[in-house]
Assembly symmetry: D4
Homo-oligomer: 220 residues x 8
């Protein structure tokens, strides 16, 4: 397995005991274990059992290791980032898309990949996207997270030459159909460089983008 | 009926004889009759019976009158238009959306309303929309016609302060769902100034926009 | 931005602190801020921070300002209104549609537009609509709010010559499909002057109607 | 079987030979056989074999008998009918709904029940329905045929005290969904006296209404 | 209004105060008021205000009057009923369909129509239906309530010559789709004498059946 | 592979040349090759190349072999069959379901399994099923083919103790949804012994039933 | 009823009293009664009334008898089972599918049929399935339980010659559609030996597989 | 635009004249133009106008240039390929998926990327995939094309560490839903390295995979 990234535990509906047991079994083979969709109470119980841990309560992700965890390179605010040399950009349309975008970013941090995070650049305010185009062009792959009509991936993709991984979110009401409208819009994007993952699948969006960025890594 | 616009004949599935009969009945009460969804062979038969007529074979619309029809003000090409003072802009995303956009434009011409036509400014080529923003700001209402992911109405609406009437088209394949993806996207637009009509409903899009523009008409 | 109306905060899922922060940022640029989908407990906390405020617990809207808010011109009861000269009529089919109709009316009040409110004129009791046709003809745009089969916009539109903005509601059970049956019916309305917004989107219905009415305003 | 009405042949996809064979088998037990969804070429072949026959090329129905067929009491035009004492009214919203309405009327004629036929009274022209309310009140059951938003059954039902059988038609495009929008609207009708049959099911609509009218028949 | 049956209050989401107010307004014009979908706590509060009342906690219906309510003729158990001369039969497939069947029966009782109630005769136990065919043949109309695959109306309809009103219920899981599978099956019934109302619409099923039975009433 | 049955060629969209080539490749390993969904013109071309062949133009199946094909044991008419000892019964609801039932029967004949064929016993004529219950009880598995509301599998299953394989057909219109209503009904059957295959999948229905019957074969 | 298996009580929404009453009525005719979808509190109350009982809190099944219950032959762990001679294998894709797989296994135990249980062999880890192929080949029928994309039944079916009964589960999010994606995938399986039951229908999957295995039982 | 790949013409519904005109406009800026969804008659007319051209009648793609086109490196047969060093593998499940797989391969050839083509390795024959795992591990990205239940991408993804781009096809009938079942299955794949494009979108699948493979190209 060239540049493989180990296994991930899907936390939904698993007890703290079960997560601990699976993580214990995995740790000898991989430096760090990622748990996704992990509620804070469960995370607290699990964390006690491991030397090093990091829980993100927005993303609901838990990272576990026996050696110190790297400080994450991701910067949540769009104003301050000097993301020169970043490998993957993770952008989102509105503030309600944040948890999914953070799950993508934490997944990339777990993979050891540099991340540039940009929030709240939905298409209704077109100048916001225009202001960050140069930063987006530094990335080897871009994760775009959006709910409602899901138009942001098309808009981003028109400005760059790298693969865009679109992640629809279940944000919205009525005709949003719990994320289906965004999913459908992303699948029919008129931009050629867009592929799509499941609704709210921040983990998968981050993972695929991380794999793409790794293809350019001479060490792999 | 203040500034009313007369009746329109929905041509789909009607014989030439039936259309002629209805048009004859309507003409005493209104200067000009519009027939929509009218096939060219049917139009040819109907036209013979009226002093003045205009058939648009892209829009599949037929206009009938006993007095000369105004030369339409609409200009199909985006390059040459000096649309200062235009009342309604009709824009579309791709060349396959053209028949629906033309149906909207012919409807507006029949209403006696000035039109500015702009084609092929889909979101995948973002600079194309930016280049026409000034023209769009001259309109009192904008009809936006788009298929696929239907993102153009949101993108246009972010640049203007007038009502945008979104018309989804059945262009596309697979996840386009015969226009439903565009329709859903337009209904969930994050822009506040967007309302929506039925799939491929160029007539209705044009009619509603024409009514809106007429609200600002001191003669009404 | 000619006759623009400022930004609106979508309150769903936002904390009181976040709403307060955004409203504080917006107030220097606009006289009054509107918050939609705002729960009463959140509204109470936010309101304390502003000199002037008005919370409508049916509409779940909150208006915030540093200068006194105009007394709203809307009158909820259909009996007493002398709505001569009103600009936008907001009607609804049944008493369960009330919250959505009120959200539309509060949005129009925030825009500074005169409103005529008429309730409970669903198609099953045909004489109720006939009794208010004259009042409806005074409006420059009409918002029609209805659930179940969503037939009211067609019925209203047949009596007037101005744009009707139809707002489907999620009222009903079984084949109502959470508002989809009403939405579909409104999109396929056989009346030409009907356009549609998202399910339960009282804000958008009011906003679009307000924009339409403003087109006739010589000050814009 | 009290006041039973014999068997009916569903003609779709059946050969002339097969229809003839089934009709021959049924005729000894019932005075007259009805074939629905029967194409004209098939009908022509079948008719030759029977002493008496009547084919309606709008309804695509064929009636077969060995004894003379009653002249049908139905009158297709709304202007001339003096339908005093009629038992079932069959109304439709637009001219494209005609074939389904005629199938219902022919079914009722085959059942020996008096019919009053009224066309083109869709909700967008509200005065058309008001003009025929008195005629509608003479019926013991009413079949209402409508496509698009399917609002006519609710509108009719509000004016009468007898059962309304609603028949949705597949007329329309886009959000009409091949008759589903009309079907859904009819199922969620806010009028209590409406029940529904399948899309384009003119036969069933007529048959159920005929059965209802027969309940009041002292001979049954 | 020949043999009309007064108005009914749809209780869902209405406060006790509002229901009381509407009922007070209606009582002068009708002997008895029916409230459907009324929770027991609400019913208790409302009942106190009226001289005579009857609440059915399975059907969730409340009947209100100022004069004594007739003892209902309906008998819930299939074993003991001697329903000779009954006017409407109300049958259901399984015990989970009971609340909907009871709502239909209470509606008929409120209309003053004799009812025969038969439970638990679903198609998987075919001898159960065969055992009650004679009783079913005594009715002028039959309400059939069923969830899951909704096959019972077809099976019942094959044994009788009167109209069957089918009421699908939301009972079941997975492919039951909350009642849609039953609804679709009923709409496509191969029996000619079946019409359909909304999912869980016991009120409407009972009301339509009651109207049908009344057509045979010489007093109307 | 104990009692395996060889490969089958799905003929849809394959040329005669391609089918011939694949069949030639398979014949050395299996006594007989089955081609399903094979149009008659294609079948004619293919058949010429093989010593023995049998084409069923209702089922659109083609059987190919180099040694004589067993005369099929199946009897299409329900009157004459003396199906004592039959292994699988194949029943269908109406005459339009015939092609699918025949595809199932031909598949079983190809597997060398005795078949009892019974047609036209749909639930609307309940006595027709009752008349054949004894024959059905002789089978080790039953294939039930039905369109419209798809109620027949439940009705059959209530009379027997063996597995019923339900095959929905795309017969019907409107709410039949091209076979989906039948499929949904079969999946939610209240009988425990029913499993389901794809719409119009006569081959699969026959194949699974044949496998089940083979479980009781001491030779396997 | 040759080798029949008695009646089963569907516990959902039934009170302890009702379950006890039905079970009491059934026990004289069958050795053991199975209750499915039974919550633990209800089970506790019911169990007290019977001499012998077994409640499985993962499957939510309750078995009741007056004579001692056989110790179940099923073994939940895939490591230790020496399932020589087993009759039905019950496999599942992931740990979240466990409750449904257990319901199938308990149903088979109630039928007196030997079971081999194998967990967590989803297609994403292909070597896990390969490792158990020999065990699977010992079964007369296989129940395959899977959520998400539901690919496991096809993968299993490619390795065996017996009927596979596929049970989709509602595990997953977004495009999993509450089990519909798995259900659709199983219905369109390219393997010939797969039939399908309802979402989460562990009982039905087990019951049909048990019936199939019984066909090979010389005692039946 | 680093390593950009020029524009592509979507041929569906475009005339030969229009395609020629667009291609002429594009050629000065890019070495070669790709036209997708181009019918053979149209292609023939267009090709005459260009010095060099290649039309693939399975993929329905047309490549146009003024300088000689590279001989494509792709090899359609799985037997003969010595695909050492290939960059992208394009695999498909069945022979009906071929046109889509070929569109992907032609797109990659147009991008100048080496391709390894492998056909007919659907999950029902598990040994076929196992036989090519080593070849698949040589690729930097894999396009997997599949219809029906769409399980192949998950199965492939379990064997490799690079991104898999899944392309659903509209092959199949009934529950295949024109490709939706495959699309849904791919979106819910339990493998982490799978992203998805639209139904039948061979072009997009190839384009995204080509972009991914280019990320590892030191020249970009
Ligand atoms: N949030 C997530 N969404 C989708 N798949 C996930 C997620 N988290 C983990 N997975 C996948 O689920 C697998 C583990 O599932 P499990 O065995 O149930 O823990 C991992 O190998 C991942 O591929
Ligand atoms: N109730 C509502 N429904 C739909 N859109 C709304 C609503 N309220 C506000 N908005 C829109 O949402 C935007 C603000 O979104 P946000 O930045 O998430 O607060 C505003 O500019 C409005 O266009
Ligand atoms: N359970 C019910 N389902 C459907 N419609 C009902 C129901 N109960 C009452 N209705 C109808 O709703 C109308 C009253 O609605 P409302 O004015 O909201 O109380 C009555 O006239 C009935 O036609
Ligand atoms: N087969 C295809 N499927 C989806 N998108 C395509 C296809 N072929 C071309 N495109 C996209 O469509 C755009 C051209 O659209 P048009 O301007 O209509 O020719 C190209 O830039 C591609 O991104
Ligand atoms: Mg925002
Ligand atoms: Mg274009
Ligand atoms: Mg009301
Ligand atoms: Mg009309
Ligand atoms: Mg029962
Ligand atoms: Mg028949
Ligand atoms: Mg697992
Ligand atoms: Mg193959």
């Amino acid at each position: 397995q060239r540049c493989g990234f180990g296994e991930v535990i899907y936390g939904e509906g698993k007890s703290a005991a079960l997560i601990t047991e699976i993580a214990r079994r995995l740790l000898p083979q991989q430096r760090e274990v990622l748990v996704t969709r992990c509620e804070s109470q469960v995370a607290e119980q699990v964390a006690n059992d491991f030397a090093c841990h990091r829980y993100d309560d927005v993303a609901r992700t838990l990272r576990l290791s026996e050696s110190p965890l790297d400080a994450p390179s991701l910067e949540a605010s769009s104003e301050t980032s000097s993301a020169n040399g970043s490998r993957v950009a993770v952008v989102c349309a509105g503030s309600t898309d944040l948890p999914v975008a953070r799950e993508a970013a934490e997944t990339l941090a777990w993979m050891g990949i540099r991340v540039d995070r940009i929030d709240d650049i939905g298409v209704a305010g077109p100048q916001r996207l225009l202001a960050v185009v140069d930063r987006l062009r530094l990335a080897r792959a871009i994760v775009v997270v959006a709910g409602m009509e899901g138009a942001l991936p098309s808009a981003v993709a028109g400005h760059v030459a790298v693969p865009v991984v679109a992640v629809p979110t279940s944000v919205g009401y009525g005709a949003s159909l719990g994320g289906w409208t965004a999913l459908l819009g992303m699948l029919t994007s008129c931009a050629s460089n867009v592929s799509v993952v499941n609704i709210d699948a921040g983990f998968k969006g981050g993972y695929v983008a991380g794999l793409i960025a790794s293809q350019g890594d001479p060490a792999c």
